[in-house]
């Protein structure tokens, strides 16, 4: 007797994305380490995909992502699942739609304008040099902990008027929301990760309750003091408003530039010809920072919830469905970039979406650009010839792509 032949339902290795089923896995460590082939598959073969594990649809082409970002009446940011990020209320202004969102942006945008951010550049430059002083003679460093974490986080804490001594505590709160798996033992279940987020959310609210109390007693020139004085339509911001803005700022401010610096340096350490081009021509730096953001897209995607039924690429979208807009994939669409797979550090036309677009354009984009330019400039002035330590492989965290393990070496002095 022979066993009846099993139908081949599960080949050993399915393509990701799978053009037949339309399924895509966007949460593996493999994807975080090298997302570009997956993005290309999405753009070329699966303009509408379905997420494995989390469910929800995925849009990837530049034109589609742009359309979604610019039309919040169809693609809302008002999730009925704030709890997913451990918050009790929407984060302001990220999780509310215009016109309400516009009022908050009017008072927040001036605090994050390019002119204001450039005032912080000398401090960032001095700090970058101090950090490099501390390890340059050794000829090696663990880039994430030695440079990518402390540099932007220090600048952000001084902007917020929070004590530098609290950085480890605040980083733990931030990771408890963004990547709870790093704080939990073993491989936590979805439920365990979620419980960690909810508890961390409570801790963040409690922390900022205390900060607000302090600033009410003793106002300064920091962000929370500014928010306490801010009026919208003749009314001061409520305590809840200030908590909801602070929650967002701490998550965004302590993570994204760290991740971007790691992705940029990991790329250049692994691509010596590109690194040499940049070192030989420092005038390329502003364009190079933009191009590396296009290629790496450390914030890989943004979520939206569908408000109106529509059909796109022959697929019906229903009100209430979650859609993930793949920033990283849109950045690799030849329709927009012509030669999207070519990393051209001198790219002249570069409408990449690393900072999103439409009304929710990243509030901190001018802070991020200043920090990235200063950090990349100082780094390449001081440590021009670096590479990944022999035998080592960088490790990227899923979600926001922080390079949590990036051992570098260079010729010691």
């Amino acid at each position: 007797m022979t066993e009846p032949e099993q139908p081949e339902t599960k080949p050993a290795s399915r393509p990701n994305p799978d053009p037949e089923s339309g399924e895509v896995n966007l949460f593996s460590a493999e994807f975080a380490g090298c997302p570009q082939p997956v993005y290309r598959g999405l753009v070329q073969k699966c303009p509408v995909a379905h997420q494995t594990f989390t469910g929800g649809k995925v849009l990837s082409r530049y034109e589609d992502v742009l359309w979604a970002l610019r039309n919040p009446q169809i693609f809302s940011s008002e999730m009925e699942m704030q709890l997913a990020l451990g918050t009790e209320r929407p984060m302001i202004p990220q999780q509310i739609d215009p016109p309400g969102q516009t009022k908050y942006r009017k008072v927040l945008d001036p605090r994050f304008s390019k002119k204001r951010m450039l005032e912080l550049a000398p401090d960032v430059r001095r700090h970058a040099n101090e950090l490099i002083d501390s390890f340059i003679d050794a000829g090696s460093c663990e880039f994430d902990q030695a440079f990518a974490v402390p540099l932007p986080c220090t600048a952000f804490l001084s902007l917020m008027g929070l004590p530098q001594s609290e950085l480890p505590f605040l980083l733990r709160l931030k990771d408890g929301i963004i990547r709870p798996q790093t704080l939990l033992d073993g491989e936590p279940t979805m439920e365990e990760s979620q419980a960690c987020r909810v508890q961390t959310g409570k801790d963040i609210y409690a922390y900022f309750e205390e900060v607000i109390d302090e600033r009410v007693r003793k106002p300064g020139s920091d962000m929370v003091s500014y928010l306490l004085e801010t009026e919208i339509g003749g009314h001061k911001l409520s305590r809840e408003d200030i908590l909801d803005v602070s929650f967002l700022l701490i998550l965004a401010g302590l993570d994204t530039v760290t991740a971007t610096l790691g992705c940029n340096i990991a790329y250049l350490a692994s691509n010596p010809a590109q690194r040499e081009r940049l070192v030989a021509d420092p005038a390329l730096l502003p364009a190079a920072v933009e191009e590396l953001m296009r290629w790496e897209a450390p914030v890989t995607a943004v979520p939206r919830i569908v408000r109106e039924d529509f059909t796109l690429h022959g697929v019906a979208f229903k009100a209430g469905e979650m859609v993930s807009l793949q920033i990283g994939a849109a950045n690799l669409d030849d329709e927009e970039f012509g030669d999207a797979l070519n990393v051209d550090l001198g790219r002249v036309r570069n409408r990449h979406m690393a900072f999103g677009g439409g009304p929710h354009r990243c509030l901190g984009s001018h802070l991020a650009r200043m920090e990235l330019q200063v950090a990349m400039e100082v780094w390449h002035e001081r440590v021009s010839s670096y590479s990944i330590a022999p035998g080592e492989t960088p490790v990227y965290s899923p979600g926001i792509r922080e390079v949590t393990h990036l051992p570098l070496v260079w010729p010691a002095a």
């Binding site: 610019r70 942006r105 009017k106 945008d109 001036p110 994050f112 304008s113 390019k114 002119k115 502003p286 002249v348 036309r349 570069n350 409408r351 990449h352 979406m353 900072f355 677009g357 439409g358 009304p359 354009r361 984009s365 001018h366 650009r369």
Partner: protein
């Protein structure tokens, strides 16, 4: 060459005043302020670069 900015589209990316500060400035909120509706001679390439890099397609050049 002439420049036109649709301020309803501008969301404050700031690429225009990053790339062509001779032609654009920022207002208090970081949104675009057009300095020269008629592009001064020699700055045409910069005007094109600014228009090409606006993620919101808010800047138009006309001959």
């Amino acid at each position: 060459m002439k420049l036109r900015v649709d301020l309803d589209k501008c969301t404050g990316h700031g690429r225009c005043y990053d790339l062509a500060p001779e032609l654009f400035d920022e207002d208090e909120a970081g949104h675009c302020v057009l300095l020269h509706a008629k592009v001064p001679a020699g700055l045409e390439p910069k005007a094109r670069v600014a228009a090409d890099n606006c993620p919101e397609e808010a800047i138009q050049t006309t001959a």
